[in-house]
């Protein structure tokens, strides 16, 4: 132990010419701060004995400075040049404390000073103090300290280097005053998302009535989406959508666009997004029956997902119920994170973008199962396709719902199918976008379905 700090200090202060404060030393060697101060002193003394003048130190002096007049307790009896406006007695008859003669009775407030000095000024500083409670070395550096403000560098480095330490656990060893009552929320640390996607999301939101051929967002959204299953799909159906569902609807639709744009989003997004969905989840009570429909639909949309999250094993023949159950489980898991941000700064835009991020991983898992068997100038295989189904709602409204169904296809008609079907992984991003957009249309507005099968 004794050798460690000497070595460490020799390396860092002398060789690397760094500025080392007692805090940096305590964190590097995981020792109590007071011990670190003593180590600094010892090293300083030994080094200076060997080669005087090689090490410079700054000291922290605590104590009571030589008498300053306790001028700061409102003694305005000393203000004799002042004008009679000072007298408050006429207007404030019960004022007792501010009568000038009473001030001298008040004892001066105790002033303790904590002063940081360079070693050259140490004696000068000590002379300013009437009584000293303590002195210790604050920092060591190899050359003289030019600007004393550069000591802030030490704390900044600590903040950066030891960012991952949990203060509540690690700081005890450094001698920080512990507080048994501290309350901290458990949330995964995440920083606010960068502003760029928000701008894009805003653009997307400008085109709300894009029918959702690619409804799904994330599995977490599934419950929310379920509510929109009925009203969302068409522009016509939209008219019947209740206003409460509108924002989630928009979210979902914007997310469809983003699924195509979004690519390789970091996990942080996922978190944000889960919070976003959490916010909307309280709005819409989870409804089980259309979940099934949606979990299937998710798969149909695919961007060029680069990341594969731990999406549940989606096998072709996997039953909808199983998938649904998994979704629920995942939603449960995310609950605590959701609570934090729910209702707070719930920005639709962010949620939109994030939805895109999550979709891709999920879809990625599904995609391989459904794509082509082989490519040989002729693609064939089973594939998911959006088919429309018009049902009559309980209120008597005609609601057109999009449902994903399997169908087999072959490459005889590649182009038209491309248009109709939501993009697959093999396509490039731009194509995906185009196809995505076009694919989005058919389910929605009836006009576009005109172009679907040529």
């Amino acid at each position: 132990m004794a050798q460690d700090y000497t070595e460490w200090l020799a390396i860092n202060v002398l060789n690397e010419q760094q500025l080392v404060s007692y805090r940096s030393l305590s964190r590097a060697l995981k020792v109590h701060s007071n011990l670190a101060k003593q180590m600094l002193y010892d090293f300083h003394r030994k080094q200076n004995a060997k080669k005087p003048g090689t090490l410079h130190a700054t000291y922290l002096i605590t104590g009571i400075k030589r008498t300053e007049r306790p001028a700061t307790n409102g003694t305005h009896s000393q203000r004799d040049g002042e004008h009679t406006v000072m007298q408050s007695s006429p207007l404030l008859p019960s004022s007792s404390a501010l009568k000038p003669d009473e001030h001298d009775d008040e004892e001066p407030n105790a002033v303790q000073t904590v002063m940081l000095v360079k070693q050259e000024s140490l004696e000068l500083a000590k002379s300013k103090f009437e009584s000293i409670t303590g002195i210790h070395i604050y920092s060591l550096q190899a050359k003289g300290l030019g600007d004393i403000q550069s000591l802030t560098e030490c704390n900044r480095k600590i903040a950066v280097d030891y960012d991952l330490e949990d203060p509540l656990e690690a700081w005890k060893q450094y001698g920080t005053i512990q507080n048994p009552n501290v309350k901290r929320r458990t949330q995964r640390r995440q920083l606010p998302p960068p502003p760029a996607p928000v701008a894009k999301a805003a653009v997307a939101k400008a085109k709300p009535p894009i029918p959702t051929a690619k409804p799904t967002t994330l599995k977490k959204e599934a419950s929310k989406d379920s509510q929109e299953a009925k009203p969302t799909s068409n522009a016509s159906a939209k008219a019947t959508t209740e206003p409460a569902k509108k924002p989630p609807t928009n979210k979902r639709q914007s997310s469809d666009i983003f699924k195509s744009f979004a690519k390789g989003k970091p996990k942080a997004k996922t978190e944000q997004e889960s919070q976003g969905s959490a916010g909307s989840t309280p709005k819409a009570a989870p409804d089980d029956e259309p979940i099934a429909g949606f979990s299937d639909e998710e798969d149909a949309d695919e961007g060029d997902a680069d990341i594969i999250e731990e999406a549940p094993q989606a096998v072709d023949g996997k039953s909808k119920k199983e998938r649904e159950a998994e979704l629920q489980a995942m939603m449960e898991q995310e609950d605590e994170v959701m609570e934090d941000a729910a209702g707070a700064e719930l920005e639709h835009a962010e949620a939109d973008v994030d939805e895109g991020a999550i979709d891709k991983p999920d879809l990625q898992a599904e995609e391989p199962k459904e794509t082509v068997q082989f490519e040989n100038g002729r693609r064939r295989g089973r594939r998911r396709v959006m088919k429309k189904k018009t049902v009559k709602d309980e209120d008597g409204y005609l609601v057109t719902k999009e449902e994903a169904t399997w169908e087999s296809f072959s490459e005889d008609e590649p182009a038209p199918k491309r248009i109709k079907v939501p993009p697959t992984t093999s396509m490039s991003k731009s194509t995906t976008t185009a196809a995505g957009k076009k694919g989005a249309k058919p389910g929605g507005s009836n006009i576009m379905s005109f172009f679907s099968k040529k």
Partner: protein, 518 residues
């Protein structure tokens, strides 16, 4: 080198296990007095006049009671003072008393018509230090509105107003004291031949009822059916600071670092660390950031137009610099694991500019956010409490009323020669108004149902941040109330931290300095 006791840390490391200190617990209950309703429930359609009427209605009973007690037996020349209900009921030559709101007409007060005219000027107007020129008739010894019988044509005029009308006040008596627009007073005197009311005596509502210590907590416990604990553990100290002024510019943050290390108990010697462990809470009273207010002030706007730059009304998002908030957030997040913090916004903080300023939003603090209450499920006070300005809360049983300094600074502008901030604070307590000059010269929310700035209960500690220097006194009330008044200095300039002992309510100062000679 030194004596023994303080050289403990100037020696080679010993093998003694250093003790781990524990901080004294803080009992804290924030009160929602100044919280405004959120979202669509916050209306701005109402008129500000309603606020004055509400204020008068709330304080008139109190001041009339004091006045009637004081003047019941008052006689001049065989005539007793009679009470008038309305300001306009006073009759010439009749000795009477009446209560109303003070209104001061001052030539240099901000005037929107003048502002528009000034936009076409070349030079920006200098910032107003005082609203009164301090020049009046009646000689050099008396200046300003209070001078020359209030007739100061060049100076200001004082009037008394209520729902019926206004009455101009005169009299040498007025020069003796503090009056600002918005204070509710009762004056006794008579109307003279000019139609002005000559004041012989004046009364204010004085301090309201002061709750005993621990009343808030005991009351809450009683409401919840829990037994009221008679024995409370002894409290520690509360650290109060103001005007951190984090600006993102490196070169002035060393004092903040020293403060941080002191509060964490890492710096200084074991004896001082023990002392630091008795600090149970940190209260930051405003202006933690400098220049982060979203709306530029009149002077800034005038300067911007003068430069020929784009005049952006409101917030210019291109010029946002995240460094100050980031730095502040890191600083707070380093302190929070060890000490709970109450943060009041100030004039330069990124929140609403009109009083009562709403809490700085959690979004500004990505790291410290973990210590705040989740927005949807507030269970009790948060560890990190970002609160309103002004703020009322109960810490260790004592009722604290704190502001970021804007009300006092505004009252300061009304008083031509008075530099005594403690006096102004005392006056505010006696007027029972946290922000007397709102809404006249201090931006505020148009309260509809009642003036929230009226103090319903007397605090035990009244602290005002961002003052030029540290001052303190104890104000006493007619019913034995005692209020510790604290003027908290700006940390950025003075490096002073105030420690208020919660058992005795006596403050002491810890000053941080960096000796920078040679």
């Amino acid at each position: 080198m030194n004596g023994d006791s303080h050289a403990d840390l100037l020696q080679p490391p010993s093998n003694i296990e250093p003790t781990v200190l524990e901080r004294t617990a803080s009992h804290y209950t924030p009160l929602p007095t100044y919280q405004l309703p959120k979202g669509e429930h916050r209306h701005y359609q109402q008129q500000y006049a309603d606020m004055y009427f509400a204020r008068l209605a709330q304080l008139k009973p109190a001041v009339e009671q004091i006045a009637s007690e004081a003047w019941a037996d008052f006689e001049i020349g065989g005539e007793t003072a009679s009470r008038k209900d309305r300001v306009l009921d006073v009759r010439q030559g009749e000795l009477c008393w009446v209560a109303g709101t003070v209104y001061m007409e001052m030539p240099l007060k901000p005037n929107v018509l003048e502002d528009i005219g000034k936009e076409h000027w070349i030079a920006a107007p200098p910032p107003r230090v005082k609203y009164d020129t301090g020049v009046g008739l009646g000689g050099d010894s008396e200046r300003g509105a209070h001078a020359g019988g209030g007739k100061g044509l060049a100076g200001a005029q004082i009037m008394l107003e209520d729902e019926s009308g206004r009455l101009r006040l005169t009299g040498g008596y007025l020069s003796g004291g503090l009056l600002v627009t918005g204070a509710i007073v009762a004056v006794m005197g008579t109307e003279n031949s000019d139609g002005d009311f000559e004041v012989l005596d004046l009364r204010v509502p004085d301090l309201p009822r002061q709750p005993p210590r621990w009343e808030t907590e005991d009351g809450d416990a009683a409401l919840q059916g829990k037994s009221v604990t008679k024995k409370r553990p002894s409290s520690g100290k509360v650290a109060i600071i103001s005007g951190l002024g984090v600006s993102g510019v490196e070169g002035d943050t060393l004092l903040l670092d020293l403060l941080l290390e002191y509060l964490l108990g890492e710096s200084t010697d074991p004896a001082s660390q023990q002392q630091a462990a008795s600090i149970s809470r940190l209260i930051i009273a405003g202006n933690s950031l400098s220049h982060s207010s979203p709306i530029p002030s009149r002077e800034e706007l005038a300067a911007a137009t003068k430069k020929g730059g784009r005049k952006t009304y409101g917030y210019d998002s291109a010029s946002y610099n995240a460094a100050p908030t980031d730095h502040l957030d890191q600083w707070l997040a380093t302190l929070l694991p060890s000490i709970p913090i109450t943060l009041l916004p100030g004039e330069q903080d990124p929140t609403s500019t009109s009083l009562p300023q709403q809490p700085i939003h959690a979004a500004m603090f990505p790291h410290s956010r973990a210590y705040m209450n989740p927005p949807t499920a507030p269970e009790g006070p948060g560890w990190f409490d970002s609160t309103t300005n002004p703020a009322e809360f109960s810490a260790d049983g004592w009722r604290f009323l704190g502001t970021g300094g804007q009300p006092v600074d505004d009252v300061y502008k009304y008083l031509p020669d008075c530099e005594e901030r403690l006096e102004m604070m005392e006056a505010m307590l006696r007027w029972r108004l946290t922000a007397p000059t709102a809404p006249d010269t201090l931006w505020c929310y148009p309260f509809q149902d009642g003036d929230q700035f009226v103090m319903k209960e007397c605090p035990h500690v009244f602290l005002v941040g961002n003052q030029p220097k540290f001052e303190t006194t104890v104000v006493e009330g007619p019913l034995g109330q005692q209020v510790r008044v604290l003027a908290v200095p700006r940390f950025k300039e003075t490096g002073e931290l105030i420690l208020l002992d919660c058992e005795t309510l006596v403050p002491e100062i810890v000053r941080f300095e960096v000796l920078d000679e040679g």
